[in-house]
Subunit: 532 residues, 2 copies
């Protein structure tokens, strides 16, 4: 057996043994003030409370041993230094470096991957110039008016992360600036966004690394047609974020082009130009720098080998404990912050596309569970919805709570002696305790089994800097888990088959492939669906 | 053993045996044109394609037997006739009827629960009068201007369903009318919504059955304060949807009050005044009637005993096959329609709050799995995100696709011989096939195991009537599953413990309870979270 394999580590045997009698949080003394004070970490502006996990010091020791055996810190270091980690040994693969961290390695000398950071700096300088020109009036529309709206046209990694960050931070928008997003090939998506816009004051930011993404090209065409219909010049209203030298790198068609490198995967690209152009347009250059600074601090702190001092590493290992050893199929990310309403959707992509794999980095079938299903919605809303199942259902759902001590707008109201923000945080902490402790009752329908593992992440306020840190915490949690499972977290071969079949169906619909005499499966499906 | 218990039915034994060798969709002849043509149903405007489930005719026969043994049609009939199904025998419970179907039983004579339908008709007449007065100018603001925006203030069932339906149908909005929603106790939620409004042209629709929901009361106070600060009269800008005679039923404080009955659970209340007031404001009374008509047609068709002719019943049983017999912990609902972007969140609530239970209707611990985790995001977006895991991950995720042959806005663009809507639907069908069929490849990272069960629901266009039908299809799927698992799908005892603990923490924060000398768990958590 390959020594890298997850199941080959001595620690996994220990953990499997420990998992036979996991810590009982509902027992007398199972969750004490002392435990809460001990199982806690401060890290880059966040505090992590993890006493409500089903762990003991022995479990933590075994998780530390697993981290050491699996070489997780060495892998993270290698990644940040530019090792070619996006590969499957012995087989065709993307065969690339993984350097999203280089985009933000701009605050310490020397950077860990100097060439990539120099490229990131160059794009950032271009962005600063662009934003300055927008601010000074050097870039205006045909009537000499400033632009007010940027519509990002992208999908997947070019959409979810930037959208989540925009929603998280729009409380800090520059006066008169906002963003919208078009992603879906569904024509109603673009129609709905375009119906509310003053096109003359709008910039469209078309984002596609390859310059060949079907949805994005279709939506770009649609947008160009609408701009032209409105008597405007598309080249004056579109900017591009794409690979240098690719099909979209065309100065004649775009007001400005920014570059993304192929060593930054879509789902890890929010802190590259993929996210920063739109965020910069809305929030300004200083906020963009703060996002990068927050992420960079985490990148460096993620290199600490002690799991009790490295928040993303500990989160990764607790996730592995819950998934591989306690057998829970999903993980819920539950932000107590309406501004983070789309952050779970971004994590769902980042995590499930990274770790939803079944072969090792050596191309062998895995013999252990890899990534869980990741889902979530903001609290307190969720408390009035799916929390019923996480308290009393037959599926146990490990939960990660995220909260802040202060609100963004500061528009708070005292009712019954406490403010709304206090109610919000108190509810989050109460849920954490309730899931862990459970409750006995004479009425069986009012019993709560407890022992539902969870952790709380809390910071002072959701700002550009904390947002950058939070993003990086999760990026590293995901990468650490992938390293530990010995999978390639940076490819996405699983998206190909659907593309191939979709092309086949579209060829049939376009009648470019003459329907054969035989009744094919594809023809049958189209006909039975009523679109053949 | 109680004869109602899920595990006591003879059919569950048969299904368990059949599940040892589930149908192999990847085998030669495993998925043929004939199979696609046979495993298909038309129902109330929707077609269901289910050849891509891991079932045989024998499995369908056993599922039919289960439906019959468990008395699912009798239970659905009893529900619609007003039986007291929201109860746990022998224990304190809500002890109520379950009559959301009565709200829409207005199109056939006689209705199945005449008294409840008469009440629904009365409220609907009040709504028509209100909408007529808004249209005629009888209701205007202090400056004599018409209202343009309705902000719904509610949470959980008073938010997710109405919000999902509004987003689904806003393509049909009356000119100049729109809606917004405030749900979270997070003060930034209200702040963000209020920051973009002209308060003088805005109505606030405060929705709370009990009139005591913490989040809603807090947000109502906040809204009233802002209206008063703007020099406006709150009583002229607020309407209420609440229980008759409850604390919010106060003509002096609201422009108009609409009533909801306690036999309609929050998560089933979208077709009561909880959803219809805001939907009526935006879409007009005719659209509201169409939503009700679409739902009602499904309510009646859901009473057919043949699972091959009853779409919600078959969906329910296929879900049970995948969850209880094939062992899959989650189900993904994947609409290929951006307008349905929040429909999965509504279903997540409706399903998980209904069926996330661990005791039978007789108060015994269940010995079988009840509700799965429900999640999902629109395609094609998801294809660029979490689909990697559903194709190649180690968790198998049963999927329910929802699509439409035509777009809402009709703003479509031909690229490469097909329109955007064709691309959208072709992608959906391709994903269904790809998940079922899989693919072998010499490169192990490019292998797809296939046999990932899924089904496709498709209708002509997302209209008020199809939306009503879709909503009711899922409501009945959920209720059928609950009946089959012999649980009470209509209570939500699991939300109580968190409320109790939150109150305890808030009392500590408000210092209304003097901190004791001993270091309590609650004090410790507050202190360690940095808010004590």
């Amino acid at each position: 057996m390959d020594v890298h394999d997850f199941s080959a580590h001595a620690a996994t045997g220990k953990l499997a043994a420990l998992a036979r009698t996991p810590h009982d949080l509902t027992a007398d003394g199972g969750l004490t003030p002392q435990r809460v004070g001990t199982m806690r970490m401060s890290f880059c502006g966040f505090d992590l409370l993890y006493a409500t996990q089903r762990i003991t010091p022995e479990v933590l020791d075994a998780l530390q041993e697993l981290a050491d055996e699996a070489g997780l810190i060495a892998a993270c270091t290698a990644m940040q230094q530019g090792a070619v980690l996006n590969r499957i040994e012995g087989y065709a693969s993307e065969n690339r470096q993984v350097l999203h961290t280089a985009c933000r390695d701009l605050f310490d000398q020397p950077p860990m991957a100097p060439e990539a950071s120099a490229k990131a700096r160059r794009e950032l300088d271009k962005l600063r110039t662009f934003l300055d020109e927008l601010a000074s009036g050097a870039i205006v529309n045909a009537q000499g008016q400033p632009f007010t709206t940027m519509v990002q046209v992208g999908i997947g990694g070019s959409d979810l992360g930037p959208r989540a960050l925009y929603m998280a931070l729009k409380a800090y928008a520059l006066p008169g600036r906002c963003a919208r997003f078009i992603a879906n090939v569904d024509p109603d998506d673009a129609a709905e966004v375009l119906s509310g816009l003053d096109l003359s004051r709008t910039l469209f930011n078309v984002v596609s690394k390859s310059g060949t993404t079907l949805e994005t090209l279709t939506n770009e065409r649609l947008v160009r047609a609408r701009i032209a219909e409105a008597g405007l010049d598309p080249a004056r209203h579109l900017v591009a974020v794409t690979g240098e030298g690719g099909p979209m790198d065309d100065a004649g068609k775009y007001l400005r082009s920014f570059y993304m490198e192929d060593y930054i995967g879509g789902r890890y690209s929010s802190t590259s130009m993929v996210g920063l152009v739109t965020l910069g347009f809305v929030l300004g250059f200083e906020a963009v720098t703060d996002i990068l600074r927050g992420a960079h601090e985490v990148d460096r702190a993620a290199l600490k080998p002690d799991i009790r001092a490295n928040l993303p590493l500990l989160l990764a290992l607790l996730g592995i404990w819950n998934h591989n050893f306690l057998g829970h199929a999903t993980v819920a990310v539950l932000p107590y912050s309406q501004a983070l309403s789309r952050f779970p959707a971004h994590l769902q992509q980042c995590d499930m596309e990274s770790n939803g794999k079944s072969v090792t980095r050596q191309g062998k079938a895995v013999g252990w569970k890899t990534g869980p299903v990741v889902w979530g919605e903001p609290g307190t809303n969720g408390q009035h919805a799916f929390y019923q199942l996480i308290h009393q259902g037959t599926e146990v759902v490990p939960a990660e709570f995220i909260g802040f001590r202060h609100s963004q707008y500061g528009l708070d109201l005292q009712v019954a002696g406490t403010g709304s923000q206090q109610k919000l945080v108190a509810n989050m902490l109460a849920q954490s305790l309730a899931l862990a402790l459970g409750k006995q009752d004479d009425n069986p329908a009012r019993c709560f089994p407890g022992n539902r593992p969870n952790a709380v992440l809390i910071a002072d306020r959701l700002t550009p800097r904390t947002m950058g840190a939070l993003l990086a915490i999760y990026e590293h949690r995901i990468a650490f888990q992938g390293f530990c499972w010995n999978i390639n977290s940076f490819d996405q071969e699983g998206v190909q088959l659907g593309k191939v079949l979709a092309t086949r169906l579209l060829d049939l619909l376009a009648a470019r492939t003459p329907p054969e005499g035989a009744d094919t499966l594809e023809m049958s499906v189209l006909r039975q669906a009523g679109i053949g």
